[in-house]
């Protein structure tokens, strides 16, 4: 497996795991989705929005595009809005990762941080985004479990079964 293939696999896993969350969250009411559940952003809806908005924002940075601001979630039909946003983001990430080359992975991309421009290799940004997704999915998973809407096992071993058993 080449490095670019691994990145594509990582983002395929990212999309699969996000979809599991969305399917679980779809079993909840808007009231449950917007109630305070802890985690980084309070409610499940806001945590899911943070997850996808971060994907959108970093996709802009990674592809050196202009920033695409995301509107607040609607008060009703929250899951429909989230599914649309995630669907568009996943399609964009597939496009980005399908177009990767070893050179583009190593290329330095500049982004603003703390009021200054900094350069980071594209692979670091992709690594950060994937790691960010894993962390926040874990938080969302705990909140879903507390509402009896478990997303099931999100460990990468279940997406890549040929990695072997955990124990």
């Amino acid at each position: 497996m080449t490095w670019t293939e691994h990145v594509r696999g990582t983002y395929a896993y990212n999309e699969w795991a996000n979809s599991r969350l969305l399917d679980a969250a779809a079993r909840l009411t808007d009231e449950q989705l917007t109630s305070e559940r802890g985690g980084s952003r309070g409610s499940l809806a806001e945590n899911l929005a943070h997850l996808v908005n971060t994907q959108v924002g970093w996709s802009d940075v990674i592809s050196e595009a202009d920033f695409t601001p995301q509107p607040p979630l609607p008060e009703k039909d929250i899951m429909a809005a989230l599914r649309t946003r995630f669907g568009e983001s996943h399609a964009r990430l597939r496009e980005i990762t399908d177009g990767l080359t070893p050179e583009s992975l190593a290329a330095v991309v500049r982004r603003e941080r703390g009021g200054q421009m900094h350069g980071y290799p594209r692979w670091q940004m992709l690594l950060h985004l994937a790691t960010h997704g894993t962390q926040h999915r874990a938080e969302i998973g705990v909140a879903l479990l507390a509402l009896a809407a478990s997303p099931g096992d999100l460990d990468a071993l279940f997406f890549f079964p040929d990695l072997g058993a955990e124990g």
């Binding site: 692979w123 950060h128 790691t131 962390q135 990695l163 072997g164």
Partner: protein, 167 residues
């Protein structure tokens, strides 16, 4: 960009993030550590134990091709002191492994057996990125639980750590 550079960064981040959470968790009572809070491994303590045991198991496989003790046995850690000692030893082992790695060794297939005796073969770098991702996932759950107990660990993002340590 080499896989060696990636793995080195990822495991430095992994150790920093584990230690950060352990430091925060040291402010909890024994009861708070052990209370069921709905994560994959229920409590803060059990979640930590699972991450540490996972690192130990996989390190044994990378060094010797198999793990002597099943994960479910290893993760029976009674208190935070035991967990800390396990992480300390595991981090030292991982640092030693990473410091001696080469790109060739990372690319080479590693043959290993799980505790059921089933055999697998995957490039070492894929296995190492899986274990790092596994740690990130469970740290997300631990961070959620710590925050719920009034002990937020703060920003654990890879990009935050990268900026603070390598900018």
């Amino acid at each position: 960009m080499s896989k060696l550079e990636l793995i080195t960064h990822v495991y430095e981040y992994n150790e920093w993030a584990n230690d950060r959470l352990l430091d925060v968790a040291s402010g909890l009572s024994a009861g708070e550590l052990s209370a069921g809070r709905g994560a994959s491994f229920d409590s803060v303590l059990s979640s930590f134990a699972h991450v540490a045991a996972g690192q130990i198991v996989w390190l044994e496989r990378w060094l010797g091709g198999e793990n002597a003790t099943p994960l479910l046995e290893l993760q029976k850690m009674p208190d935070l002191g035991t967990v800390r000692a396990s992480f300390l030893a595991s981090h030292a082992g991982l640092r030693e492994l990473v410091s001696g790695l080469t790109d060739e060794r990372l690319e080479a297939p590693l043959e290993y057996r799980d505790s059921r005796g089933d055999e697998y073969s995957r490039p070492l770098w894929q296995l190492m990125t899986h274990v790092a991702n596994h740690g990130t996932y469970h740290r997300g759950e631990i961070a959620m639980m710590l925050t719920g107990l009034g002990h937020s660990p703060g920003d654990l993002d890879f990009s935050f750590w990268e900026y603070e340590h390598h900018a």
